[in-house]
């Protein structure tokens, strides 16, 4: 894929030929700098560490990357990241299939699994309604979500979205979809800081938000 157009949007040294004599090193730094949370400065530090660090960290990273790329897939039922399809949660008999926690992104599952109190299953939407980012209702797997209700006999759906305008809208949309079904629909209590991100919520806060989840 030609990545020049996106690069042109980045400012600073990336516009010009770059600051390195080596085009290969320059390419590596640019690729790293495109990762979330990395600026050009950190990307450069990481690149140099990978290439010159003790114990050939580049080799280790390449192997890990290749394996992850080969083995990691999304679970066909819930959309979580997994090596087995269906994932461990979806195939476990001890997880309650009648309770489903609906989240926006695969990372949002992690705080629940880390905290360990949640015994139901998940459904990953892959995003929130946001026309500004080109995401409309047709772009999210709502039909597959409904299927889960009909096939698995789900009785309660817990909507665990960030407390953002988009999180509210998506919750509202799902509420509409489920209006004529006999299910309990709940939303995490506002323990999650406003505008805060679910993925980075600590366990105690999450547990409280879960216990005091409100019915919609």
């Amino acid at each position: 894929m030609d990545d020049r157009p996106t690069l042109a949007l980045k400012r600073g040294a990336a516009d010009a030929g770059g600051e390195f004599r080596s085009p290969a090193l320059e390419r590596l730094v640019r690729a790293l700098a495109r990762l979330p949370g990395l600026g050009r400065k950190s990307a450069t530090r990481i690149a140099l560490q990978l290439l010159r660090g003790a114990g050939d960290p580049a080799e280790e990273l390449m192997t890990a990357l290749a394996e992850a790329r080969l083995h990691v897939r999304t679970c066909g039922r819930c959309g979580c990241l997994t090596e087995d399809d269906p994932c461990a949660v979806c195939s476990s008999a001890s997880r309650d299939a009648t309770v489903v926690c609906v989240v926006a992104l695969p990372v949002d599952v992690l705080p629940f699994e880390r905290a360990g109190f949640y015994r139901g299953r998940y459904f990953v939407l892959g995003g929130l309604l946001s026309p500004l980012d080109g995401v409309r209702a047709d772009d999210l797997p709502f039909a597959r979500l409904l299927e889960r209700f009909d096939v698995d006999g789900v009785r309660e759906a817990i909507l665990a979205f960030d407390a953002s305008v988009e999180g509210e809208a998506t919750a509202l949309y799902i509420q509409r979809l489920l209006a004529d079904r006999d299910v309990r629909l709940t939303r995490l209590a506002t323990g999650i800081p406003v505008g805060g991100s679910l993925a980075y919520t600590d366990e105690a806060t999450l547990l409280r938000a879960f216990q005091f989840r409100r019915s919609l």
Binding site: L132, R136, V165, E168, Y173, G195
Partner: protein
């Protein structure tokens, strides 16, 4: 609230400097284009987390520099000290800290430093476009009530989402009924926030009105009575409803115009179209007022906002005047200056020495601003 000390670096044409301010009156003299407004813009930056002139961070970083820093330390009305540190970067996100703690969202900053700014643009408040009055209302209410700012951001966000939905749907020729069903989701959020916003705006205008009228009467004794009223754009806001009832009514109204919005491909109603009106003796200042009347009315409104901050938060805002006094009657100006100085810390920039000539309030400090350099005068 008092601005005690400031240090400024890499900001527009200002030479890096530290200044210690007087808790009473501070005057910055200088010719046109020397940096007076730049200085006031820098000092007020922590109040909004951005320029009061609406400039982008990019424009404020000095030509040739990569970053600008403004640190401002204040004493609050209950005797605490508070330190604001602001970093602006060319092409990057700004950085804000309060007492060393990073501030991630502007909502956590707005209102912490209470100021009232009167600058050349403010004169347009009475006679200019609705947007100016709306943004005055929004800034004023955000200082008075943190929840207001949060709601405003949410409402704007939902409106922008709906606008994007309508625009893209029109381009793609999507089915109108499905677009409406989706727009309705955003309408609910808009209605919920709008109900609270419009109620706040109505109350605010009612409380500002008598205060502005009293100040105007003092500035221009014998003149007709000044009136300030809220003109909500939503029909639902004119029926005296409140809370959940108002939100419901707004939702029905948005529903009603839904088909038109889908056809036109953009939102056609909402609190983003509200306005306010200033009247003198029952006649709208917009279109009819004289320049002097418009200027005095705008000033009265700003000062009334200052009184409201004190009435509701027990905080005396810092008053910042950028070249306000030209065109106003000398004797009135002096009376106004004295009254403001009796209650507030004042920062005054002026290109005309006679605006403050002969005025020697206690604690007065004076600077000359020349080519971006600050020099304190004895």
């Amino acid at each position: 609230m008092w601005l005690l000390e400031a240090s400024i670096e890499g900001f527009r044409n200002l030479i890096p400097s530290r200044l210690v301010l007087s808790p009473t009156v501070n005057v910055f003299h200088g010719g046109n284009g020397q940096g007076k407004s730049n200085l006031l813009e820098a000092l007020n930056y922590p109040a909004l987390g951005r320029s009061y002139r609406g400039a982008r961070d990019d424009d404020m970083v000095a030509a040739g520099a990569a970053q600008a820093h403004v640190a401002v330390s204040c004493r609050t009305d209950n005797g605490d000290h508070i330190l604001f540190e602001c970093g602006m970067e060319k092409g990057g996100p700004g950085r804000l800290r309060i007492d060393g703690e990073p501030v991630r969202r502007r909502a956590d900053l707005v209102g912490r430093m209470a100021t009232v700014v009167f600058e050349p643009q403010s004169v347009q408040l009475a006679a200019g476009a609705p947007e100016l009055r709306r943004s005055f209302a929004d800034q004023s209410l955000s200082v008075l009530d943190q929840a207001y700012f949060r709601r405003l951001m949410n409402c704007h966000r939902a409106l922008r989402q709906k606008a994007a939905l309508l625009r893209d749907a029109r381009r793609a020729g999507a089915s109108p009924s499905r677009v409406r069903a989706e727009a309705e989701i955003w309408n609910r959020e808009i209605a919920r926030e709008a109900a609270a916003l419009c109620e706040s705006r109505a109350t605010w205008a009612r409380e500002l009105d008598p205060r502005a009228a009293a100040i105007y009467a003092e500035m221009d004794p014998g003149s007709a009575c000044l009136k300030f009223v809220y003109l909500p754009s939503l029909e639902a806001c004119r029926r005296g409803l409140a809370g959940e009832d108002l939100a419901q009514e707004i939702l029905s109204e948005l529903d009603y115009i839904g088909p038109h919005e889908v056809r036109r491909g953009r939102p056609l109603a909402g609190p983003h179209l509200d306005d306010f009106q200033l009247l003198l003796g029952g006649i709208g200042l917009r279109g009819y007022g004289s320049r002097g009347e418009a200027r005095s009315a705008a000033l009265a409104l700003k000062l009334a906002h200052g009184e409201l901050i004190f009435a509701q938060r027990r905080v005396r805002p810092i008053l910042i005047f950028d070249d306000v006094f030209s065109e106003l009657d000398k004797a009135r100006v002096r009376r106004l200056q004295q009254e403001c100085a009796a209650r507030h810390q004042l920062l005054i920039a002026t290109a005309r020495p006679d605006d403050v000539a002969g005025w020697k309030p206690d604690g007065l400090r004076t600077w000359r601003v020349e080519g971006g350099r600050l020099e304190e005068l004895p």
